[in-house]
Symmetry: C2
Subunit: 364 residues, 2 copies
């Protein structure tokens, strides 16, 4: 990034702590050119002879020059991206997005390196405030958000403050967000119809009473699933029930209560590891054997899905892949260009249904 540092001249040359920064002025003086030339050379801009450019690059590397993020941001769009995580529950997902994004951005031969950071907010409202502040303070050049839901306070930011938002939505296009009034430009979404396939799969297995166990305040690919379950096809009516939990204790309690009801669901959809484990434990307590007495389907694949018994059928979304796809939208924003408006070729990552052992036909 920035400069391919031929580091041999710096071996053991630990810059005395507290010593003055090395600036392009130093590089210019050492190289015997003006700072303008150094700037051009360092940024790979035309207008410098190749000889000079090489010389400058060499000098900068020898001196151990590194750009000052602050000075740079003072004039142009900051070369950093913030990915927002709302709540600890979203940590793993957001981390994956950040890793995918940084890998994709690094790929580019683009000289100036970009920094990808995660902003972690306790809830959606604080998250919205975070974004507004970070943007008005010009801390980052682009803001990636996940877990947008209908009426998410963060949606308004793009209209109200012009925040360069890149929303990642866990659903295929045409979902609620694409058509909502506060529609946001520059969406990135998952391709494929994993939720619909999951719904069809459950229907085909004969399930007619399905419950969803979802965490409070979370985005709802669950809604897509509900719609798909309800939206007939073969005419058979599916009774659905959405159960919202807050803590894992709560999840356990609700799962237990759910399975204790007279006509309990024949299938339960869990929105994450917590819900999954809660359902499995509730089933065990009541002596229900998964999948024969109860089918369980997870809406987010994870190591836990693969480790529990039986391994859980799950919708697998590669958040890292989605983060990488987001790079296409992030890059122009960092270049100071306006967000793309043509949804048509919005980048996407594939979501798919992974069938494992936790789902089976309804017992006869």
């Amino acid at each position: 990034m920035c400069v391919i540092v031929t580091t041999f001249s710096r071996i053991g040359t630990s810059p005395a702590p507290g010593s003055r920064r090395i600036t392009i002025t130093d590089v210019a003086r050492t190289a015997g050119v003006s700072i303008a030339v150094v700037s051009y050379a360092l940024n790979g801009r035309p207008g410098v002879s190749d000889r000079t450019r090489r010389h400058v690059l060499r000098t900068a590397a020898d001196l151990g020059w590194r750009p000052s993020a602050a000075a740079r941001s003072l004039r142009s769009v900051p070369r950093s991206v913030s990915v927002q995580a709302v709540g600890v529950a979203a940590a793993a997902r957001t981390t994956a997005v950040a890793l995918g994004l940084r890998a994709a951005l690094d790929d580019a031969e683009a000289t100036p390196a970009t920094d990808v950071v995660v902003d972690v907010a306790p809830d959606h409202d604080v998250g919205a405030r975070d974004l507004e502040h970070a943007w008005t303070e010009r801390r980052h050049g682009a803001f990636v958000v996940t877990g947008l839901h209908r009426d998410d306070p963060r949606t308004r930011l793009v209209a109200d403050h012009g925040v360069p938002l890149v929303p990642l939505v866990p659903q295929q296009r045409g979902g609620m967000l694409g058509t909502a009034p506060g529609s946001v430009p520059g969406l990135v979404w998952f391709s494929g119809d994993a939720e619909e396939r999951a719904a069809r799969y459950l229907r085909e297995l004969g399930h007619r009473r399905v419950a969803l166990l979802v965490q409070d305040g979370h985005d709802d690919p669950s809604r897509l699933l509900l719609d798909a379950l309800a939206g007939a096809g073969d005419g058979a009516h599916v009774v659905t029930e959405e159960i919202v939990y807050r803590t894992e204790e709560d999840a356990a309690a609700r799962a237990a209560r759910l399975l204790a009801t007279a006509n309990r669901p024949t299938a339960v959809v869990a929105d994450g590891d917590v819900a999954l484990l809660a359902v499995l434990e509730a089933a065990r307590q009541r002596g229900l054997e998964v999948p024969w007495d109860l089918s369980v389907l997870a809406l987010e694949d994870s190591p836990a899905c693969r480790l529990v018994h039986p391994p859980a059928t799950a919708v697998a979304r590669s958040w890292a892949e989605l983060g990488a796809a987001a790079a296409v939208l992030v890059r122009p924003l960092l270049g100071g260009q306006p967000p793309r408006d043509d949804d048509d070729d919005a980048p996407a990552a594939a979501a798919r249904l992974v069938i494992r052992g936790s789902t089976a036909p309804v017992p006869a």
Copy 2:
């Protein structure tokens, strides 16, 4: 933060996207004072009359002024902290640290708000490079790291580049890091002797063959536990075995193999959710009943520990609390002061052993 914005005058006044930033110059002009006065007033510095200060604050709020992070960082230490997460596995923990830290930093009446971000690196080496770059580019004022292990490349950064590091170590003081050659100043650690208590507990239950299932490349509170298990007390010798896994598949395979051995351990210590679930499933497969046939102890409490059956005995560390404790060391760094050297009153958070149903005496 910064200013208590009496927002009534901004209702509906969405600053036209693309409009020029509001700077202290604007505030100064509107308020009819010089920019120096505005700066002093805004930063709560002495040298401004109360009347003027209120007037300036009021004007800034009315105008919707927000500081420019870049311009500020250009002269002083950036008012932002980076918390580094190495790998997705550390995501939840790091997120908790960040939340705790930001809560603690917000608490302070300190006028200038601080931004806490998470830097997520795929591995320790990239993490070290990240830190070096972020520091030489002066992106943040302080860097919090967790999961330091012996010979961690990041340890050298403080000596080599003067990086203002605040390491969080998951052990009580006097552990390996405190005495290692590359000793780092300004540690924050957990108080209490949870690992030793865990070891003592297992010994008291009669366990003499204990295995540890730990992820590759992770920090080792496990080592503390091993030492404590080995370090006698009652003379009885405890045979320990450390098993390192990489992926969750690997964990499952190794757990299965471990329990299939002739004289399998009577207790297994898992370093996280993945290891815990792997062991539980391996036990189930072999028809071993936890805790009667096998005791399981987790080295990191989590929702999963509370949801599995039986609920897992675990060492509970409040990473959020530790993050909050770190604020004490972070604050002076953001003020441009040198790191504290007196380990003596290093802040700490409590780690404790939570005994649940997954551990029991060795069968007679």
